[in-house]
Symmetry: C2
Subunit: 205 residues, 2 copies
Amino acid sequence: MGIADRKERDKEELRERILVAAKSLFLQKGVEKTSIRNIADQIEYSPGIIYHYFRDKNEIFHALHQGGFIQLMEKMQVLGVVRNPMERLKAMGSIYITFALENPDMYDLMFIKEAPIDHVSSSEHDNWKEGGGTFNYLRTTIDDCIKAGHFLGHDAEALSYMIWSTVHGMVSLNIRKRCEVVLPHRQETIVVDGLEEFYKILDKL
Amino acid sequence: MGIADRKERDKEELRERILVAAKSLFLQKGVEKTSIRNIADQIEYSPGIIYHYFRDKNEIFHALHQGGFIQLMEKMQVLGVVRNPMERLKAMGSIYITFALENPDMYDLMFIKEAPIDHVSSSEHDNWKEGGGTFNYLRTTIDDCIKAGHFLGHDAEALSYMIWSTVHGMVSLNIRKRCEVVLPHRQETIVVDGLEEFYKILDKL
DNA sequence: AGGAATATTAAACACTGTTTAATTATTTTT
DNA sequence: AAAAATAATTAAACAGTGTTTAATATTCCT
């Protein structure tokens, strides 16, 4: 049955080649400016072949955005050494915005674009498990903070959402170029400055 | 010179008709699914005519998104009666998310989409004055809060950005369907619940 | 070697935003 | 009132898009 296996591997390999081509194009041109024909050109196949490996363009970028979550989760690994849950929460924020600012296009795909998420809602497994993993990580950290006596009188679930929203809001406004409203000489650093303000608040809770 | 005036008015009227058609289509189909030909069909003109009134599709939706800011600013008017600056700040947040949840497509256009903002950065007046107005309103309120003894040790500019980001983050994650990660039975109300948590925090500052 | 199954492609469909030159319609001048 | 000039409008084309279909190569198995 080695032949069938090799065929399986070949199929998998072409799928992977499509993904690699799609990613490189998307990182240098953006999702909407990357066409099926562009990807086909890159891998030197005809455009039609792509539809034998992916249902549509959405599915390709959904597959790609999964890679982003693995990347982000890997960066989060170092948090294991931070014992104090409140410090761990702060470090998480730092890693999150660093990832977003260093990989704006990938972040955009993961948390802002409608494209890959539309594929999730229109498929059988209708929960967004990639995002669920990272959110649960945050949620657990907040639970730890509460156990350590912080966030008295707060609702853990809603608080987690609010905290996530704060960092997401700062980076997404930046990525989607809505920072021109702040003082010109501060635009460069407004996201990290904003995070700093958030830290000051956390220190009081 | 009445003839020239009437011609001027006629031109202005057609421009307005394009805008009305574009808005109605965009609110029921979204920006990217609204084509120039769709708009032309609606006003019963040929597609080409639109380019005598707008440079490109971006300019149309930039013009539209200005209307959204006027709408939002109008809702903010009632804040004048709230004397306590901290209460005013909270009420602002409430108005902001209400506007976003009631007009998700318009909010998307104003604060999330890249389309209309690209027009801003590629034109002569390169600051985003619509957004600037609303941000300054927030900024002034925060200044008032500081004068009233709140937010000790904070940087007003960065704090304003952070607070804006918190509400923006909550609504934009919701609009772009990233809320599936929270507990199912809470998804419906997570944005207002998150805002509630934010209020609790503000009460301590 | 020949038939079945699979992989791949060429071609078409119905769109998109935008530009061009040609055509109406209107105004101004003779 | 007729002719010339100006402005408004359009038809047609261009180069692209995502996706589907039917036809063609290629590989596999008996």
